[in-house]
């Protein structure tokens, strides 16, 4: 039996929807009178109440990194607030052993009129650090934030990025046994985000237990060995991160349609199939897949084209093509048409999840008829652990003989 430092045992938590009934004393007196006559048990839901967390249980062992993923409103942040003690559950028991530090909102305790240095001390105290500890760590914190020249400027003059950087820097220098992280990586520029992720990886290596909430699935995959999928307050599945992310992507892909003013020409459905023609969403880099698109029409229209986009988790387009550019040319549609198109592609991608965006438009007049995003989502696994943006299929070996004459420019002398 290994060492459980954090235990969430059948937790229930309810919230009230809408306006609170009595916010002033004037409304309180009738409410109290009502309560006296109608006694209710706390487990029951009154009108407008709902379970934000419904019978959720999980355990985290020492040194483990657990990711919690799920759509907005699934109860992820509520779970963290329950863990940190800000909220108390209506039912169930939470036990925590060790110094717990929560990175729930960086810079929550900042005061705009105080300088960066003063805020570091203040925020450190809020996160439970002693003054001596702060004195010792000040240099590290300042160095990490890269804000040394603005240290004596009131933070109200900071940009939002600087604000967040200072906040994260303080929080990252607490020495916790357990660290709760709630979507704090979405701040700062790219370089700083990387720095934050590296810091978190360092925490994991140091044996700090981490609970990590993020919509950056790649970060979750990199950081956490195990993940939990929350949906509408319940645990849908828990297990190895890759598996959970896949499940999440296949469930969360409820596509939003673009500006469909009229259902004249629309994308009926998009499916991703593997080489054997079976629908799938988990692939290995280098797999051959087909994207099958069904376009329907109610009108007569010429000059149509279908575009396909692959976006990564940061909403960056990693691949974009269109039927017109591929040399297929444009096509025409007549009322009642149902056409099937097929993109055969090879997933020369790096590890991560990708979202497909399909659009049908008139190429000549640049009119978009329908956009489906995410039309599908796939998760690509790289058995060689290729990360980054492009997969260049590297091969590495030692050369037995000097390079041939034709390749001389490659040689460094």
């Amino acid at each position: 039996m290994s060492d459980v430092v954090l235990c969430f045992d059948r937790i229930w938590k309810k919230f009230r929807r809408g306006e609170q009934k009595h916010d002033s004393l004037r409304d309180l007196i009738p409410a109290v009178a009502k309560k006296l006559f109608k006694l209710r048990r706390p487990e029951e839901l009154r009108d407008q109440e709902f379970w934000a967390i419904k019978d959720v249980s999980f355990q985290v062992e020492r040194g483990e990194a657990l990711g919690i993923i799920g759509p907005n409103g699934a109860g992820k942040s509520t779970a963290l607030k329950l863990l940190s003690g800000i909220l108390t559950p209506d039912r169930g028991k939470i036990s925590v052993s060790g110094r717990l530090s929560a990175l729930i909102e960086v810079g929550a305790g900042f005061h705009p009129d105080l300088t960066g240095r003063e805020n570091i001390y203040l925020n450190g105290a809020i996160l439970g650090m002693k003054r001596k500890e702060m004195d010792r760590k000040l240099d590290d914190i300042v160095a990490f934030s890269e804000l040394s020249e603005f240290l004596d400027t009131p933070v109200k003059r900071y940009s939002s990025g600087m604000y967040a950087r200072l906040g994260f820097s303080v929080a990252a220098h607490v020495d916790p046994d357990i660290l709760l992280v709630d979507e704090v990586l979405s701040v700062g520029d790219w370089a700083f985000q990387r720095k934050c992720l590296e810091k978190m990886e360092a925490f994991v290596k140091k044996g700090v237990t981490i609970i990590f909430i993020s919509h950056n699935l790649q970060a979750v995959v990199n950081l956490c060995s195990r993940a939990l999928l929350l949906q509408k307050g319940t645990v849908v599945e828990s297990g190895p991160t890759g598996q959970i992310v896949r499940r999440y992507l296949s469930e969360a892909a409820s596509p939003t349609r673009g500006d469909v003013r009229d259902r004249t020409i629309w994308i009926e459905c998009v499916t991703v199939v593997d080489e054997e023609g079976k629908e799938a969403d988990f692939f290995t880099a280098g797999d051959k897949v087909s994207v099958i698109i069904n376009v329907r029409s109610n009108v007569k229209e010429d000059g149509l084209a279908v575009t396909l986009d692959f976006l990564d988790e940061n909403n960056r387009s990693v691949f974009n093509t269109s039927s017109e550019r591929l040399g297929y040319g444009v096509f025409a549609a007549a009322p009642g048409d149902s056409k099937f198109f097929r993109y055969d592609i090879i997933l020369h991608l790096v590890e991560g999840s990708f979202f497909l965006k399909v659009e049908v438009k008139n190429y000549r007049v640049e009119r978009s008829f329908d956009v489906l995003f995410p039309a599908a989502s796939i998760f690509v696994h790289s058995d060689k652990g290729i990360k980054g943006t492009a997969n260049l299929y590297p091969v590495f070996k030692e050369e037995a003989a000097p390079l041939q004459a034709g390749n001389q420019e490659l040689r460094r002398t």
């Binding site: 004393l25 929560a102 729930i104 929550a108 305790g109 105290a125």
Partner: protein, 261 residues
């Protein structure tokens, strides 16, 4: 009960930092700076002098120096009391982002309000000492009563501050009620006048625990007498009872703060 004190002791560092923050912010970007600490009590003393003058005109008796000293002695703790109550009442709601985001014992908010106002009191107290020296006010050993009486007042103020901050979190009109009461409280608290001026109604005025303490202070410093033991116990009961009861109630409702703020 024991745990809740231990927890605050554990977070005492945060308590100091929050008080330091409040003090720092109060004097940052201000014209008057530390003069602010003297401004409010000085105004109260000034109003007291005017009231006293009016009373002496009506009664035909001249103002005595001891009456003026009495007003000065009572004005400072009074300024501390109302300043802290105003500040503490809003201390939880004003720190909303901290209450909903990070865990630590929330008692530190009203308590840091007390500390920050105590700092202002200390500054104005220095000014009072200077005034005493300038006006050659005679001070006897009885003046030492001021210290324990002030401690009682601090405790009582903290008690009120704790419970009011919590009440204001749940019911936002508490803030307005407090504002109104604090504004008019000077009329039913013996600051400008002595309770005994009301003859047989004196007891009624002394039931106001803040009034009890203020009267005892004036008695010790101006009239060189020890406080009445009965009234002293009455005030202590308020101070200790109020402090622990309101802390207890605060602690009991603490878990509801984040979702009701």
């Amino acid at each position: 009960m024991k745990d809740m004190f231990l927890e605050v002791i554990q977070f005492r560092h945060l308590l100091y930092m929050l008080a330091w923050r409040d003090i720092k912010i109060r004097y940052k970007q201000t014209i008057m700076g530390f003069l602010w600490a003297i401004f409010m009590p000085a105004l109260i003393v000034l109003s007291g002098l005017i009231v006293r003058k009016a009373m002496s005109v009506l009664s035909g008796k001249p103002i005595e120096m001891s009456e003026l000293v009495s007003v000065m002695v009572k004005a400072l703790p009074w300024a501390f009391f109302i300043g802290t109550i105003r500040f503490a009442t809003n201390s939880l709601v004003g720190n909303r982002s901290l209450v909903t985001k990070i865990y630590f014992p929330r008692e530190v908010f009203p308590l840091s309000a007390v500390l920050a106002n105590l700092f202002d009191f200390a500054i104005s107290f220095l000014a009072l000492v200077v005034a005493f020296v300038v006006f050659r006010v005679e001070v006897t050993v009885y003046a030492l009563w001021f210290l324990p009486l002030m401690m009682l007042l601090v405790m009582m103020t903290a008690g009120f501050g704790i419970i009011l901050s919590c009440a204001n979190l749940f019911y936002r009109d508490v803030k307005y009620i407090v504002e109104v009461i604090v504004t008019f409280a000077i009329f039913f608290t013996p600051v400008f006048y002595e309770a005994k001026a009301f003859g047989k109604w004196e007891t009624l005025l002394m039931l106001n625990p803040v009034g009890t303490i203020l009267e005892s202070m004036s008695l010790a410093i101006v009239h060189h007498r020890s406080p009445d033991p009965l009234w002293l116990s009455y005030a202590s009961l308020w101070a200790f009872g109020g402090f622990f009861l309101s802390w207890y109630l605060f602690h009991r409702s603490e878990h509801l703060f984040a979702e009701n703020i």
